[in-house]
């Protein structure tokens, strides 16, 4: 007999080695997440996928599925926590959706819509962060970085490079690039690297391509992030 867990009362099978997130996505159950992509080593940093396992809070993307686990995900308490986490991500950076070229294609924005986040709630930090436009084709807007480390992992695990890293701790954490000058132009990043295209917000961008996709044809214009994630990250029909 195959092993199963329950998520919000629904029985879900899993295979050894799968995390709760893996099992959930395979069963078409969406758990909100930003720092997780199934093809990379889980990072467990954004905490949006926090679920309650047998009464304890865990990150679904890092916690192994084990037979008989009772997992709660869509409870009021957890949804409220996820909304607060998302609000904190917004106020910690400088996110101006109305003029951002990632709007409509942005996972952070889409998660906020999914969680029905209607305001920032917390006071804005307005941190002083810069834009690194030194590279001819790729740009980093540090104002929008949420430190998910997807670019770090994509550069190492897919591109076979080591362009990005996170430095500093706590509120001083920031994205750095692998060059003595600290500038993107002095790294070996290439516009075709997966690391350049993996950013869930508008922090890493291909230059001179903004707004080329008209309103109505953007990723989240007609679908919510749960539908998009289940379609693109599902182990059977994902990429």
């Amino acid at each position: 007999m195959s092993k199963t867990i329950t998520i919000d009362g629904k029985t879900i099978p899993f295979e050894d080695g799968q995390t709760i997130m893996d099992a959930a996505m395979a069963a078409d159950v969406y758990i909100p997440h930003l720092c997780h992509q199934p093809e990379f080593t889980p990072h467990g940093s954004c905490k949006l996928c926090t679920v309650k396992v047998n009464g304890r809070n865990c990150s679904a993307c890092t916690f192994p599925a084990m037979d008989g686990q009772d997992v709660l995900s869509e409870t009021k308490e957890l949804i409220d926590d996820r909304k607060k986490i998302t609000q904190m991500l917004f106020v910690e950076g400088n996110h101006f959706c109305p003029s951002c070229e990632k709007t409509g294609n942005c996972q952070l924005q889409a998660v906020a819509y999914h969680l029905n986040m209607l305001d920032n709630h917390f006071p804005l930090f307005y941190p002083d962060r810069n834009v690194d436009a030194s590279h001819a084709e790729v740009m980093i807007d540090h104002n929008r970085c949420i430190f998910c480390a997807l670019c770090v992992r994509a550069s190492q695990q897919t591109d076979g490079k080591n362009v990005f890293a996170l430095s500093g701790r706590g509120i001083h954490k920031h994205l750095i690039v692998n060059a003595e000058s600290g500038l993107l132009k002095d790294t070996d990043v290439d516009v075709n690297d997966q690391a350049v295209h993996i950013c869930p917000t508008g922090a890493i961008l291909v230059k001179r391509t903004g707004y080329q996709v008209p309103i109505g044809e953007r990723i989240y214009d007609h679908q919510q992030i749960d539908q998009v994630a289940l379609a693109s990250e599902h182990p059977k029909h994902g990429k």
């Binding site: 070229e101 001179r208 903004g210 707004y211 309103i215």
Partner: protein, 499 residues
Amino acid sequence: MYEHLETAENRDSLKRVVVDPVSRVEGHGKVTLLLDENNKVQQARLHIVEFRGFERFIQGRPYWELPVLVQRLCGICPVSHHLAAAKAIDQLVGVDPENLPVSADKLRRLLHFGQVMQSHALHFFHLSSPDLLFGFESDISKRSVIAVLAEYPEIGVQGVKLRKYGQEVIRMVSGKRIHGTGAIAGGMNKSLTKAERDYLLEDIDQMITWAEGSVALIKKVHCSNLPYYDDFATIRTNYLGLTKPDGALELYHGGIRAKNEHGEIIMDQVDYCQYNDYIHEEVRSWTYMKFPYLLSLGQENGWYRVGPLARVNNCDSIDTPLAEAARVEFKAHSGEAMVHSTLAFHWTRLIEVLHCAESIKELLNDPDIMGHDLVAQGEKRYEGIGVIEAPRGTLFHHYQVDENDIVTKANLIVSTTSNNMAMNESVRQVAAEYLSGRELTEPLLNNLEVAIRAYDPCLSCATHAVGKMPLQLELVDVDGKLIDKLVKHDDGQIERVNA
């Protein structure tokens, strides 16, 4: 002229009357009057009290953000800022207006006609028609579009629907009614589908009919009280705007023409990229809005008006038949080469609504708007200037970028800024001719707002004089004695004035 009322002597001994906020305009402004003991007006000023500062905070952003970022200046004419910025960044990617793909050029024009139509309809029907239909000093309960809808339902509904149609044109071309995308460097990001085109074609004949009716309405209102309408807030000024090479009315792209109060040409078909050689801006300490003037005529005489009245005064013709007939009739009513009546802004605004409706029909029947060649590319440049005739007048966007595509400098001369001197002069005229010496009541003060409203000012668009404001810092001891004083002049120089 009434410039002597800009700054009164013995200001401390005068009574102060404030209209704050000025209502039914975009943004926040106030009027202050200083009166002597006989209620004679000694000083009248229109202050723009809000501050936006876009020119500063777009520095450091990549240039392709500009059309989408700067359109947030305004919720009424965002498309004008969107397109002026797009024209400027076309140049940054090496695309001059004549090299823009035909489909992109026509889609932008369609978008702009929709914009001018909806903005003018909003201004006339929602903001100004209560004054014109019920009287300038009518009861305050009448002075809103709600009262218009109650007492003149047909006019009110037509106004709402004319505006809605313009918004629908914008939505079809740019994806949203307000703050869409659409124009990108070197072109457009989409064309119209046949279904979108057909949807807009359904109602266009009705819109033309209603626009014709609105021109007839304003003509009737204006001519029924001709001496009053021709005199109220009226000032004799220069006029500036874009025209086509043949002198016809142009809203999207043309050369700069300026005429003086007698209708004589001051300059014609000037390439707008050279605007800096012809127009300068002055800063004054009591407002966040700058005062532009024509360099050749100097600060004192070089100020000018822009907007529908300027455009219809400046042009030799309009290239759509119904609007042209309306223009001829409008010019004939005064018998003068130039119409200086400030309230004639409304009449010309509605002539332009008619022109927009006719032009939209023409473009909708042009298959190029469904074309797929939408973006051109050229050699990178470091400076771009885009100028357009926004609903409220000529709008200048000027940007410089560095080798990394980042904006290093921006200058915006917004239509309302060009009308700043004229609005102040009209306020002073009304204060001097209609209010001075009378017991001031709330309805009487509405006259000041009627004068300002005629210009359809967008005060929030127009306040960007960051770093250039003259400032005065005084250090005073506990007894009120001045100890030290620093003065920052409008050229940025700081001077210590010893007490």
